[in-house]
Symmetry: C2
Subunit: 234 residues, 2 copies
């Protein structure tokens, strides 16, 4: 039977053996919600990079650029970290390089896995269907906030395990706990996430519409997949 | 208002500012349950040390010794990590040096806090009462399992926050999540903990009686308190 484990923060990922496994990276507010929205809206490729400098260099190489630090857009880049920006007409068929506080780090720390895919509430069922069909073990990697635990990413892990639990064995305590937290919250998902530390942190940036979008389940059926360092549609 | 935060693993404790705060270290299965039981049973002092070597040296200095690795007693020491061992008559008024896989590490990683106390279900209300009276902020430090998340320690964090939440502000997402997990489990605490990864790991050591004891709420009113590297009754 396939096995699911949940890594609650990039600071814990070294404790997981990723060899032969699929990692699902999730950063609900908002990096992986943006990536899902982007590819669903016709962006050709999204290249996640760790630093602002790498992102800036790619601007000169035909990429549009997206950069966020501490919840805010960084000056000098095309867009920040709002999923609505990724829907813009001008990005259709184009490439975007992106760097964010947490999400891109979780991707770069997962690269010894067999496969890396991107999960968000927006493509929840598509991710689950893909995982059930692969036959591989799964690690759900929560991006968290600056290395620490975050509620919204753990809720996604719980939602995903709820979809998988008939086909997968629960690999660790974090997986069961994520399911318990999601079960208690799922009928009030938006309100629960609006009460999270990160939503409070983002309040000054006036992004309630972003958060509502990020809490929408199965808006898209796209599966962002990392290939040669670039996210494309599987 | 005083604030509570929950650190889900010793691998995350560097992300917390412990200055001026009280850290409650918890390792339900079984280090902090043993420490609570020991002081409640008349042990004079318990000295937590990180390594087997340090523990061995103390044997020659008038200490009884307790040593556990991977759930089992280590050869050559007086006792392992069962709370029942700490009740033995011969330890009354004596000192015990102890080293365990996770619990003693969580203590040594907390030493830049203002105060360190030991929490377990066995002394839950005593710990809560002390914290409410101090006026200081609190970090509940879950010992986990080899650096990763563990259910039983998080359940304790939730139980403690349930007792504190009228007097304390919730400082982070982990605190709220711990409360949510505890609320779902508290009417079946023993069964829930018997289903945890660590209880399964310990199954071969035949310690069901230990686990039952460790899940007993408020059996003792003792408060183990770290002073000059040694746990004494406050």
């Amino acid at each position: 039977m396939q096995k699911v484990e949940v890594c609650l923060s990039p600071e814990l990922i070294h404790l997981f053996d990723l060899k032969g496994k699929i990692v699902v990276v999730t950063d609900i507010l908002r990096a992986t919600s943006c990536m899902t929205t982007g590819l669903a809206s016709g962006v050709a490729q999204i290249k996640p990079v760790a630093t602002l400098e790498e992102c800036r260099v790619l601007k000169g190489q035909g990429y549009f650029t997206a950069a966020e630090r501490n919840g805010a857009k960084v000056e000098g880049f095309d867009i920040g970290n709002s999923p609505f920006s990724y829907m813009e007409e001008k990005f259709r068929g184009k490439n975007i390089a992106t760097t964010t506080t947490n999400g891109t780090l979780a991707i770069t720390k997962s690269t010894h896995a067999d496969e890396i895919i991107i999960g968000s509430f927006l493509n929840l069922s598509t991710v689950a269907k893909y995982l059930i069909n692969t036959g591989k073990d799964v690690v759900i990697h929560c991006a968290g906030w600056k290395g620490n635990y975050s509620l919204e990413d753990t809720l996604f892990a719980g939602a995903l395990f709820e979809k998988l639990h008939n086909d997968f064995e629960c690999g660790d305590d974090a997986t069961n706990s994520a399911l318990s937290i999601y079960s208690a919250a799922k009928n009030n998902l938006l309100e629960t996430i609006l009460g999270s530390s990160h939503a409070k942190r983002l309040k000054k940036h006036n992004i309630r519409k972003d958060i509502e979008l990020c809490c929408t389940i199965d808006k898209y059926d796209v599966l962002p997949y990392l290939k040669d360092g670039v996210l494309i549609e599987k």
